[in-house]
């Protein structure tokens, strides 16, 4: 976006929305925006130049979810812009004017929130600018505004046959003075030309030719490389360091001591790695994390789950405890889940070039937040945001890994650059990324529920024993939201069911590992527990699992429609001999999803093969139908992978796994066929990116029961657990 602004003013509309327009040295810049808070200052969501090019700001960051295309598509649709003339511009600063409305205006790409967070803002921006163009055109031609039509970046007047391009309109004298005379109207669902259409993603050609540049690919002049040896246990620091050999290694420039590690900085990555291998470091042995073992951690969490310590209420309706105490037909169970790693294929990497005065820097990093990357840099350098030049790079996978308030990979690049007075790229190797990863927390969950005389589930108590993720990874946010931790508890609200006496509570346990949001956040384990539990209840009452859910969602027609739909989809394929099917209903946030998994089991090997998953999703209106399918399918495969394979174990405070050979993720020949239905409607768009995975683990567990009559209550369903269940 061009930076120089010569003229700027705001036009306040009757609706309370506002428009800001500006002339720039580069051409006429039309800045349109609308918001409940008309007192806000505005800047450029979109710019139309006299050459007809349309420039749209992309306020999120791209990690594969596709919103780099999807968000501009929304604005361009309401603007009636010619998509072929639209170029998309990454927002490279912590400019809260463009902040995510779903995250209190923080620049934060998480929670599958980009589309639903920005949907209204982008529509208003596009529609407002389109209205200005029509007003100015009407004045120019001396015709009624309502007679000015727009399409593909052109205005036209049918009666006279006149037309102009948008570039010509914004170049008219005094365009910036245009006042909108009537409230801005958004298009109807039927009028959309880009929203809901198959618009190819803009990033895909570069990602199909090796041309896409990620943070790890950055090369700048005079750049050095750093590789960091970290303390093997959280909280330990350097007791003694001998770096003589490292400093004597060919091309090594410096050895930099970091808060929790030692960086070898060299002219080549090869030399940085060679130098690191020669470091002789002994670490302190005082950290409390040294005593933690993941098996003990999970057992402690299990005891907290079944205990009676009151948790923080996540959602409550009626009086669940009283209802359960008086119930005659109740049942309870415990579900556990291990730590899980993001395993994004691009490991952490960042490049920093610190200014000579040490109080400013240009940085290149791939994260899910301009706000916290900027904050990391300002905190590390003790400076202000205006001194940080940010380059937000596409990410080789995010999945929650790149969300922290303090990003230590970026911190290390800054500290190394400051020490060496040259640009430095820090690259984590895969073992670094895994051993110093931050995980989906281990969790134990206690569930108790009761049915009434008609066999309908009417009382529910869900206790989730796990640490607070937010408290650890973003203490600032925790101050605002405590004790409600959406990252830990998501899904446990079970909001799609009508349960009159309901209680979900967070039994906050001690953190014994680094933890972070992970695809699906809490729903990755709360939905497993809830949906496996409901399946158990259905079996105990000898009710069809789908009918049992239907009886719980009599006031949820959209959800019931998904149950019906997915039942039909699966019924179209005969169940093969030796296989079983299981059902689960979850989704993510406001998005509902119903799914069926078909599996077979090799009893002696203890392995489960998932052959087919059918899934029906209602995420409101869909912006990019093909990308939605890709995201949902990716989510389903993530769910299969997490259910069957993924497990981090910790011994004496150290992560035991180090690479893809002992932290395994799903491969191509383990992937099920996935059939997807996406509801078509005109409702508010909701989340897509994390809608696919939460229902998969319980659907597999429930299929396992259908096939074997045994229950799997500990995720992942490793061979030893499968064999134990079958024993």
């Amino acid at each position: 976006m061009s930076a120089s602004i010569d003229v700027s003013r705001r036009v306040f509309l009757k609706s309370g929305a506002a428009v800001a327009v500006a002339l720039t040295a580069g051409g006429i810049r039309v800045v349109a925006y609308a918001n409940e808070n008309a007192q806000e200052d505005f800047a450029g969501w979109v710019e139309i130049k006299p050459d007809d090019s349309v420039h749209i700001l992309f306020p999120s960051t791209e990690m594969g979810q596709g919103s780099e295309t999807g968000l501009p598509q929304i604005l361009a649709d309401e603007l009636d812009a010619d998509w072929d003339q639209v170029s998309i511009h990454q927002l490279n600063e912590d400019d809260r004017r463009f902040g995510n409305p779903a995250f209190g205006k923080i620049l934060y790409t998480a929670g599958s929130s980009a589309i639903y967070g920005y949907f209204n803002v982008l529509r208003q921006a596009g529609a407002t600018l389109r209205d200005m163009i029509r007003e100015r055109t009407a004045a120019e031609w001396g015709v009624d505004k309502d007679a000015v039509a727009t399409s593909n970046s052109r205005v036209s007047h049918a009666a006279s046959g006149r037309s102009m391009t948008y570039g010509e309109v914004v170049a008219l004298p005094n365009f910036a003075e245009t006042t909108i005379s009537t409230p801005v109207k958004l298009k109807s669902h039927e009028q959309h030309t880009l929203i809901g259409k198959r618009v190819p993603r803009r990033d895909i050609p570069a990602k199909s030719t090796g041309k896409a540049k990620y943070a790890i690919d950055v090369r700048v002049p005079n750049m050095l490389y750093a590789s960091v040896l970290r303390s093997p246990v959280e909280g330990e620091t350097i007791a003694s360091l001998n770096d003589e050999k490292a400093l004597a290694t060919r091309d090594v420039v410096d050895v930099v001591t970091l808060p929790d590690g030692v960086a070898v900085v060299a002219k080549t990555l090869h030399a940085a790695l060679a130098g690191r291998a020669t470091l002789d470091v002994s670490w302190t042995e005082t950290s409390p994390f040294r005593q933690y073992n993941s098996a003990d951690t999970l057992e402690a969490y299990r005891q907290a789950a079944v205990g009676d310590t009151e948790g923080a209420t996540w959602r409550a309706e009626g009086d669940a405890k009283a209802a359960l105490a008086g119930a005659t037909r109740s049942f309870d169970a415990v579900y556990t889940s291990d730590y899980a790693y993001h395993a994004q294929i691009e490991p952490m990497a960042a490049t920093a070039s610190v200014d000579a005065d040490g109080k400013g820097a240009e940085v290149w990093v791939g994260t899910q937040t301009q706000s916290w990357s900027t904050r990391t840099a300002t905190e590390v350098l003790g400076t202000t945001a205006d001194r940080i030049r940010l380059n937000m790079m596409p990410m080789g996978g995010g999945f929650g890994r790149r969300t922290e308030l303090m990003q230590n990979y970026l911190r290390d690049a800054l500290l190394c650059s400051k020490a060496t007075k040259q640009p430095v790229k820090v690259i984590w190797l895969r073992p670094d990324d895994l051993k110093f990863g931050a995980f989906r927390p281990a969790a134990a969950q206690y569930l108790k529920a009761a049915i009434n005389e008609k066999g309908v589930l009417t009382a529910w108590h869900h206790r989730v024993a796990t640490p607070s993720v937010i408290e650890y990874f973003n203490p600032i946010r925790w101050q605002q939201v405590a004790p409600k931790d959406i990252v830990t508890m998501r899904g446990a609200e079970s909001q799609f069911y009508n349960i009159p006496d309901f209680l979900a509570e967070h039994v906050k346990t001690e953190r014994q590992a680094r933890i972070l949001p992970w695809r699906g956040i809490g729903a990755a384990y709360t939905s497993f527990a809830a949906e496996a539990f409901i399946d158990e209840f259905a079996a105990k009452t000898k009710t069809d699992p789908l009918d049992f859910r239907r009886s719980m969602m009599t006031d949820n027609p959209r959800g019931t429609a998904l149950v019906d739909r997915v039942e039909k989809m699966a019924a179209a394929v005969p169940l093969a001999e030796g296989r079983g099917r299981g059902f689960a209903f979850a989704g993510y946030g406001y998005t509902q999803a119903a799914g069926i998994a078909e599996i077979s089991v090799d009893a002696s090997a203890g392995t489960i093969q998932v052959h087919h998953v059918w899934i029906a999703v209602d995420a409101g209106q869909i912006i990019s139908p093909d990308n939605a399918l890709n995201q949902i399918e990716g989510g389903v495969l993530w769910g299969v992978s997490s259910a069957l394979l993924e497990r981090v174990t910790i011994t004496n405070g150290q992560v035991e796994q180090e690479n893809y050979y002992n932290y395994t993720v799903l491969r191509n020949n383990q992937s099920p066929t996935v059939d997807i239905y996406v509801a078509e409607n005109n409702e508010k768009p909701t989340q897509i990116g994390e809608a696919g995975n939460p229902l998969v683990p319980p659907a597999i567990a429930n299929a396992f029961f259908a096939l074997t009559g045994r229950r799997l209550r500990h995720q992942p369903f490793t061979p030893d657990r499968v064999r134990e269940a079958l024993a």
């Binding site: 594969g64 050609p205 090869h270 294929i345 399918e633 993530w638 690479n659 050979y661 799903l666």
Partner: protein
Amino acid sequence: MISFMLNGERVETDADPDTLLLIFLREELGLTGTKYGCGAAMCGACMVHMQGAPMFSCQITLAGVAGLSIKTIEGLSENDDHPLQKAWIEEQVPQCGYCQSGQIMRAAALLDSNPTPSEEDIRNWMSTNLCRCGTYNRIVKAVQRAAAEMSA
């Protein structure tokens, strides 16, 4: 001095012969289409062709490629129009895209040796390569599409 053929051109270097080919390609030559993912031949993001066969470039040093012929994603086609690249775009395969150079190089080696692979052939062959976004089924479709175009 080590010399080898890279994307049809001779490369000569006095870099440390122990340097991994992957690191040399990326950091010395700037051919960053080939990716680092694991350094352990477990993910396939670094896949190149050596003498026409698929090879994990994280597993071989400069000394190991002396006198040999290497092809990377940058050398797969002259105008980014290899049938696989076109199919990848047509099927809208990539999400984050980080693994896809390696996937395409792996698939290209398959079609060189087996122009009409079955779905099972494709899945097994492609299982050396991880995709964390979960695009495996689209990868299969894209390989099938490219195979059909190449044998048409």
